[in-house]
C-alpha cells in the first residue's frame, strides 16, 4: 500500500449531485460527493444499502438510470477531461476502454443469449479496429488471465453453463480486456460464496498489481476494505461522511457512523472480540425525508442540539483524513464508549 498523495490524480469527482424526481420536488440521492482516485490506487467506497454508492459509480460512466439526472455545478474529471461536458461518442470511447465496470450480480449482468466469448470480444471489437480472429484471441487471453482454465472451450459457453464464481471472473475479464486505467467494481463479491469471495478479491488485487490500474471498489463489507484498499471513503445518505487512509480509518474513525460500521464487523482475534456483534439502530433515512442538520443524528449515540441545527462540514482531521462530524471540533461531547454499547 502506497501513500496516495504524490501520485497523479486520475479521477477527480467534485460536488457530484444526482437527483430524482420525487413526490415533493427533486430528491438528491447523491449530494455533493467529492473524492479523487490517483492512478494505480485502490479506493473503497463504503456504506449501507441505499446510501448512493452504486449511483455514484453509475454517474462516473454517465449511466444514471432514466428519471435520475446529474445536476450541473459539479464535475467529474477523468484524466483531466470533464466527463459531464463530453458528447455521447466521446463518452462511449471512454466506457469500457479507459474506465470499466464490474457489476455486483454476474448472473444478471451477463447477457444470457450470447456466449461469454462473444460478449468479451464485443468490447474489443467496439473499441479497436481488429479482426474477428484477433478479437477472439484477446478474449481467450483475457479469460486465461482471470484464471479460467480451458479458455478456448469456456469462451464458447453461455453464462448459464458457468458457476457464479466463474461468471464473476468472466465479468472481470470483460472489464479488463482492454486494460482500462480505472476499474469500478460494484460489490463484486456480494453475490458469491465466502470461499469464492476470497478468490475473486485475490484475483482483483493480483490483476491490479500486474496492470497498474486504479480500482474503485464499492462495498459494504469492511473485511473487504481492510484487505484491499489504500484509502476509504465512507458514504451515508448520499454524502461523503468520512475519508481516510485505511489504517487511520480502522485505528481511529472520527465519524460515529464509521465507528458503528466497524463495531458491526465480526472479529476473529479474541482480544478484540465483543460479547455480541453490535448493530447501528435504525436504517438509512430515505433521501426525500432527511433529518435537519446532520443526517446521521437520529441514529447517533453522541448527538446533541448542534447536530439538529447545523449540518457539519467535512472537517479536516489530518492531512488525508476528513470527517463530517461536529465531534471533530468538539471532542468533549463524545459519550464514553460503554454508553455506545448500551445504545446498540
Amino acid at each position: 500500500m502506497t501513500s496516495p498523495l504524490p501520485q497523479q490524480t486520475l479521477l477527480d469527482v467534485h460536488a457530484l449531485q444526482v437527483t430524482f424526481p420525487g413526490r415533493a420536488g427533486m430528491v438528491r440521492a447523491v449530494d455533493g460527493v467529492s473524492f479523487t482516485v490517483a492512478a494505480g490506487e485502490t479506493v473503497c467506497l463504503v456504506g449501507e444499502s441505499g446510501c448512493g454508492k452504486s449511483l455514484t459509480a453509475m454517474s462516473l460512466l454517465r449511466l444514471v438510470p432514466a428519471p435520475g439526472r446529474i445536476e450541473r455545478g459539479g464535475h467529474i474529471r477523468f484524466d483531466g477531461q470533464d466527463l459531464l461536458s463530453l458528447d455521447e461518442p466521446s463518452l462511449r470511447s471512454i466506457r469500457g476502454r479507459e474506465m470499466a465496470m464490474i457489476f455486483q450480480e454476474p448472473s444478471t449482468a451477463l447477457n444470457p443469449v450470447l456466449t461469454i466469448g462473444d460478449q468479451i470480444a464485443e468490447v474489443v471489437r467496439v473499441h479497436t479496429r481488429c479482426s474477428r480472429a484477433e478479437a477472439w484471441q484477446r478474449t481467450e487471453a483475457a479469460l486465461a488471465q482471470v484464471g479460467i482454465a480451458d479458455a478456448p472451450r469456456r469462451a464458447r459457453q453461455y453464462p448459464h453453463e458457468l458457476s457464479g464464481g466463474m461468471r464473476q471472473r468472466v465479468m472481470i475479464a470483460m472489464a479488463l480486456v482492454l486494460s482500462p486505467r480505472l476499474v469500478i467494481a460494484d460489490e463484486p463479491t456480494t453475490a458469491l460464496d465466502v470461499t469464492i469471495q476470497a478468490q475473486i478479491l485475490e484475483l482483483l488485487r493480483d490483476l491490479r498489481e500486474r496492470t497498474g490500474m486504479a480500482l474503485l471498489l464499492i462495498t459494504h463489507d469492511l473485511g473487504v476494505v481492510a484487505e484491499m484498499a489504500a484509502r476509504v471513503i465512507v458514504m451515508y445518505a448520499g454524502r461523503v461522511v468520512e475519508e481516510a487512509p485505511v489504517e487511520a480509518l480502522f485505528a481511529s474513525p472520527r465519524m460515529p457512523y464509521t465507528e458503528g460500521l466497524l463495531k458491526a464487523m465480526p472479529r476473529l482475534d479474541p482480544a478484540e472480540r465483543l460479547e455480541r456483534l453490535s448493530t447501528i439502530a435504525g436504517t438509512v433515512p430515505s433521501p426525500d425525508a432527511l433529518p435537519s442538520g446532520c443526517t446521521f443524528r437520529d441514529r447517533c449515540p453522541h448527538a446533541w442540539e448542534r447536530c439538529a441545527q447545523e449540518e457539519p462540514a467535512l472537517h479536516q482531521v489530518s492531512a488525508a483524513h476528513r470527517a463530517r462530524c461536529h465531534l471533530v471540533q468538539e471532542p468533549e461531547r463524545r459519550v464514553p464508549t460503554t454508553a455506545t454499547g448500551a445504545h446498540a
Binding site: 449511466l63 438510470p65 462511449r92 471512454i94 457489476f103 450470447l114 460478449q119 467496439v126
Partner: protein, 292 residues
C-alpha cells in the same frame, strides 16, 4: 403448460412451400392455357382434371398450384418487410431521445387509428390495378404497427435489465446494442408474430384479389381464382371450393405454428413481461428450432 404440437403445422407449411417451389414440375398443365375451348370448358373434377376446368378450359389444379406461388411469396415478402420496418420503428421508439420517441409514439397512434383495408381500397381505387411489388409495399407499409409496438414493449422491458446497463458500460453504441445484444431476446416473439402475420396476409391478398384490386388476371392467385369462379358458385362449385381449401392450409398451419410458438415463449400474453423474462431465461441465440 401443455405444449401445442408444432409438428403438423410445420409439415403442412413445408408441403405447401414445396408445391409452390416445384409448381412447374407438379402442375399437369400450363395454368393460363386454354386447353380446348369447346370440349374441355367448365368440366367437373375428373381423373384428368382433379379440380375440374374453368369456362376458358383452363386446368384449375394447375392454376391453384401456380396461385400458391404468387399468394405465398406475396405473403412472405410482405411479412419480411413488416418485420424489418416494425422492428426498426420499435427500436427507434424505445431508444430515441425522449422528444423524438414521443413523436414516434404519437405518430404510431395516429396510424393505428386509420383502418388498413380503407387505405388499401382507396389507393387501389385511385391508382387502378397495382403491380405485385407495389402491392407488397402497400400492404407492408400498412401492416407493421403491431410489430413496432411489440418490439418497443419488449425492448423497453429489456432496457432496464442489468446486462443492458453492463453492455452500455462497455461503450457499445445503441444500434449495435439493440441488434446484437437485445434483438435475440425478442426473436422468439417476433417469430410468433411473423407466422401469424403470414396467415393474415394470405387472407388479405385473397380478399383484395377477390375484390379485383389485388393480383391482376391472368396471373393466378388464390384470391383471383376464387374471384373468377364467384359468379358460377351454384353451377360450377369446383372453381371456388378448391382454391378456398388451398388457402385454408397455410392459414390454419400458420395459426397453429404461431400459437404454439407464442405459448412456448410467452405463456401469459403476447408481448408482456412474461414474454421477456421467459425468452431471456432460456438461453437461445438463434430463432427457435422447429422440432417436428
Amino acid at each position: 403448460m401443455t405444449r401445442r404440437p408444432l409438428a403438423w403445422g410445420v409439415w403442412l407449411l413445408l408441403g405447401l412451400a414445396a408445391a409452390a417451389a416445384f409448381a412447374p414440375l407438379v402442375a399437369p398443365y400450363d395454368p393460363n392455357a386454354s386447353l380446348d375451348l369447346v370440349r374441355l370448358k367448365s368440366q367437373p373434377p375428373s381423373w384428368a382434371h382433379p379440380f375440374g376446368t374453368d369456362p376458358y378450359s383452363r386446368d384449375v389444379l394447375s392454376r391453384v398450384l401456380y396461385g400458391t406461388r404468387v399468394s405465398v411469396s406475396f405473403a412472405l415478402l410482405t411479412v419480411c418487410l413488416v418485420v424489418v420496418i416494425g422492428t426498426t420503428y420499435g427500436a427507434l421508439m424505445a431508444f430515441a431521445p425522449p422528444l423524438l420517441s414521443t413523436v414516434l409514439r404519437r405518430m404510431l397512434d395516429l396510424l393505428l387509428a386509420v383502418p388498413r383495408l380503407l387505405i388499401l381500397l382507396a389507393v387501389a381505387g385511385v391508382a387502378g390495378p397495382l403491380s405485385l411489388p407495389v402491392l407488397v409495399l402497400l400492404t407492408a407499409s400498412t401492416g407493421w404497427y403491431a410489430c413496432a409496438r411489440l418490439v418497443n414493449d419488449e425492448l423497453a422491458a429489456l432496457r432496464s435489465r442489468e446486462f443492458t446497463q453492463a453492455a452500455q458500460a462497455t461503450g457499445v453504441p445503441v444500434a449495435r446494442l439493440v441488434y446484437r445484444h437485445l434483438l435475440p431476446h425478442v426473436a422468439p416473439t417476433l417469430w410468433a408474430l411473423a407466422t401469424l402475420a403470414v396467415a393474415g396476409t394470405i387472407g388479405l391478398e385473397a380478399g383484395l384479389s377477390f375484390l379485383g384490386l389485388g393480383i391482376q388476371p391472368p396471373t393466378a392467385s388464390w384470391g383471383n381464382i376464387i374471384h373468377d369462379g364467384a359468379g358460377l358458385v351454384h353451377t360450377q362449385w369446383w372453381l371456388t371450393v378448391f382454391p378456398s381449401l388451398a388457402m385454408l392450409i397455410p392459414v390454419l398451419a400458420c395459426n397453429a405454428v404461431g400459437d404454439a410458438l407464442r405459448d412456448r415463449f410467452a405463456p401469459t400474453h403476447f408481448g408482456g413481461a412474461a414474454a421477456s423474462t421467459r425468452s431471456s431465461s432460456a438461453p437461445m441465440r438463434s430463432p427457435p428450432v422447429f422440432r417436428p
